[in-house]
């Protein structure tokens, strides 16, 4: 399943941002609109990598789907950065 939301939180001693829930699923709209261009780019990459376009699409889809569940959190005494992909 492809990721739907990204949660981003940044906190420093001078700046405290509320956790942002970014609706990644909305990116599908520009992706669909730009699909002919994206297809051409993928064809170029497939030719350069000497693979098939279908294999490349499957690989990209796997990477995209694999992002779901990623969690990165770095905290120090007074700062914190959080990135979660849901």
């Amino acid at each position: 399943m492809t990721p739907n939301f990204a949660v981003i939180g940044i906190q420093t001693p001078d700046f405290r941002m509320p956790r942002l829930w970014l609706p990644i699923f909305l990116l599908w709209i520009p992706v669909i609109l730009l699909s002919p261009l994206i297809f051409l780019v993928l064809v170029a990459i497939a030719v350069a990598a000497r693979t098939t376009i279908w294999r490349l699409i499957v690989l990209c889809w796997d990477v995209l789907g694999g992002l779901t569940g990623t969690h990165v959190q770095v905290s120090t005494q007074d700062s914190q950065v959080l990135v979660r992909i849901l």
Partner: protein
């Protein structure tokens, strides 16, 4: 309930052994390896499928505690490893040289996709614990 356990409980019920002795015997049974009837224990019991690779770093320095908590889905690792198969053959030699310069004597052309899948599968058993007392740093890498 298996036969041995039933016998122990019957001996306990008949008063031939005490509750403590029964407990010890049952504990010994549980510690003993399961009898194999053609299949190994790992084959008999389905392994829990791990979903994430977790890296935890805790460090304590003058500025205070620092923690790093990274959770990477195994699916992403698998996909990333498959992406590596897109590296053109011409680049393998340069990558091999660069890797060996950095102390990783690896020949990329000899790594096949099935080897990489196997590598990821074995990563599921990985647990690394590093406790550097002089730096007050703890690192844990494990799968969950």
């Amino acid at each position: 309930m298996n036969e041995n356990r039933r016998q122990i409980l019957e001996m306990l019920a008949a008063g031939k052994i005490t509750a403590d002795e029964a407990e010890r015997l049952i504990a010994a049974l549980e510690d003993a390896p399961a009898p194999s009837n053609g299949a190994s224990a790992s084959e008999a019991m389905p392994r829990l499928k791990v979903k994430y690779l977790r890296v935890l770093v805790e460090s304590q320095d003058k500025s205070g505690p620092t923690t790093v908590n990274v959770r990477v889905p195994m699916q992403l690792l698998r996909a990333g490893v498959r992406l590596a198969s897109l590296i053109p053959a011409q680049a393998h030699e340069q990558l091999d040289e660069a890797l060996s310069r950095h102390g990783v004597p690896l020949t990329l052309s000899q790594i096949k996709p099935e080897n990489l899948e196997e590598l990821i599968d074995h990563l599921e058993d990985l647990t690394v614990d590093v406790d550097a007392k002089e730096d007050n740093t703890k690192v844990r890498v494990f799968c969950e």
